[in-house]
Amino acid sequence: MLQLIPLFVLIPLGAAFACLLVKRRVPAMAPMLSLVGVLALLALAVTGSVQGAAGASIAGGWSLESQGTTSFLPGIALVFDGLSAVFLLLVAVVSTAVLVFGFRYMETYEGRPLYYALLNLLIAGMNGAVLAGDLFNLYVFVEIASIASYALVAFGTGGREVEAAFKYLILGAVASASILLGIGLIYAATGLLNMADVGTAVAAGGIPETTLLAATALFLAGLGLKAAMMPFHAWLPDAHPSAPAPISAMLSGLLIKTLGIYALVRILYLVIGMDGALGGSLQTLLLVLGCLSMVGGVLLALGQTDLKRLLAYSSISQMGFVLVALGTNTWLGVAAAIFHAMNHALFKGALFLSAGSLERIAGTRDISKMGGIARIAPATTIGAVGASLSIAGVPPFNGFWSKLLILIALFTAGMHVVGAIAAATAVLTLVTFVKVQQRVLFGALPERLKGAHDVPASMSLPVIALAVLCLIGGLLWPLGLDDWVGGAASAVRTDGPTNEAPAEYRRMVHSEGRQP
């Protein structure tokens, strides 16, 4: 398995180039190539998760002798551990659903091979970011995914799309510059880039406190922008709805998590150290920003009439849940955050895809102009209702368990006020989605929509599949899924039941990379 780790990046990267090669002669090959690619990724991710193998794969690198000792300097280290496994599987599952949905949905767009190439590039960037073992490669993969996403937001090439993409690109570029500057500061102070090594150096106090503070602020601003935390959220409600529906699902479902949440978890917990000198203030910051995102996002979502904009604001709110859970700085909190990020990818992916279907059926995204769609489009309705129940936190769907877990983590950590805010937000989310369901799916069918009919099965089935996964996730949670997610949290927190420890990460990069 360990030798196969680079394939997570190479397969989608290769597929992206292949899509461009066949662009002129056989454009119909592009979707097939992409399908083969994501299915291979899915198989790899499932195998990796089932085996639970953890380890590093190192490309390049060299050994350096100085003063009689030989030290190995890893080249590009790709590290596969419990946390990476969760996100890799998530990327593979959601990408597959999105790709299948897009076969028919994208038929109305020009230049489809380019869409498939960019989609594959996006997947390659996200997989790479999740596997990157050092700060600079994390940055490079984040950029690959970001640049692909800027282009995909503008894919419709209408005024609205291009404008949203431009705005997104400007804020994204500022975020990237701050992340790179932060990496530069860390390198200047320690001479290290490997995340595990930097983490050890920071824990040993090998970096001046002001430098660490500046680097942390730059990372938080940069990754906060990518994760669309509340003061940095302005681009998301424009960019996510402007993209074609499958891309909205990719961006809201995966991108803000792999580039934002995953990178935050790795950097805050592994590099900067939540138990270190800055831990206390970081915790407060995460809790405050999280509460702001939770409440602000859901209140803004309540007021929207554009279905996709509403979903975009709700994404900000759900990311707030993840942030407050991370702010607890406990194993339970991290596990809850990972589980909620995972569930959000599944149900928000399904919701954005079903919003695309609903737009096709009703010819509008305006909630007030839709109604009674359940009568004419039963298959779309099943998927949309399943995903909505999940995001609203109705048992036994997965959203219920992860929100419950976040509340438990907050209350056991003694953060009662934040817990109360989170509970209130969960109720408001329920209200939002009940309102949407009532307006859009049930009620009276407008005269205008009498002749409309359901979307083809290749568009409704991926949504239903994601909704079913939400249900299965909820049912399996008490029956073993908790161990798997808990294992992912153990990759960064040592106070859990199984102690893999962050030290394990360091061991993997070093011992397994030391090959002749």
């Binding site: 350096l64 002798e65 100085s66 003063q67 600079f136 490079v140 950029e143 640049i147 800027y150 282009a151 503008a154 090439t157 209408g158 005024g159 609205r160 291009v162 404008e163 949203a164 993409a165 431009f166 705005k167 690109l169 400007i170 570029a173 500022v174 990237s176 510059a177 790179l180 500057l181 990496i183 530069g184 390198y187 200047a188 001479g191 880039l193 409600p237 424009d238 402007s242």
Partner: protein, 116 residues
């Protein structure tokens, strides 16, 4: 030290151009200045006063090399970062062209379809 100050000033100038200026091409220029401010900073991090280019000659010991040469790693980082910056700038110019086709203007305030 002067170089660090210069990098900080350029960073500020780039940020100002990117976020405050209304003309789209000025925003593109702002982005380029911002990126090169960071690149300058990275190169400066690896600079050793009076250091030689980081090319290890035949027969040179590792210790002698490490003592005399500037740090090669930031240079590798900057190369990568320049390529990424080029991609970003190209995409930004392409989007600006589309916006110009659409609105007949490069003034960000004339772009009005998205508010809030």
């Amino acid at each position: 030290m002067t170089m660090y100050v210069l990098a900080a000033v350029l960073f500020g100038v780039g940020l100002y151009g990117l976020l405050v200026k209304r003309h789209l091409l000025k925003k593109v220029l702002g982005l380029l200045i911002l990126e090169h401010a960071v690149n300058l900073f990275l190169v400066e991090v690896g600079y050793v006063d009076g250091g030689s280019p980081p090319i290890r000659l035949a027969g040179e010991t590792a210790a002698a090399f490490a003592g005399g040469a500037v740090d090669p790693l930031p240079q590798a980082l900057v190369l990568t970062s320049i390529v990424i910056g080029l991609g970003l700038a190209m995409l930004m110019v392409a989007l600006s062209l589309r916006i110009y086709e659409r609105y007949g203007s490069l003034d960000a305030d004339r772009m009005s379809e998205l508010k809030g």
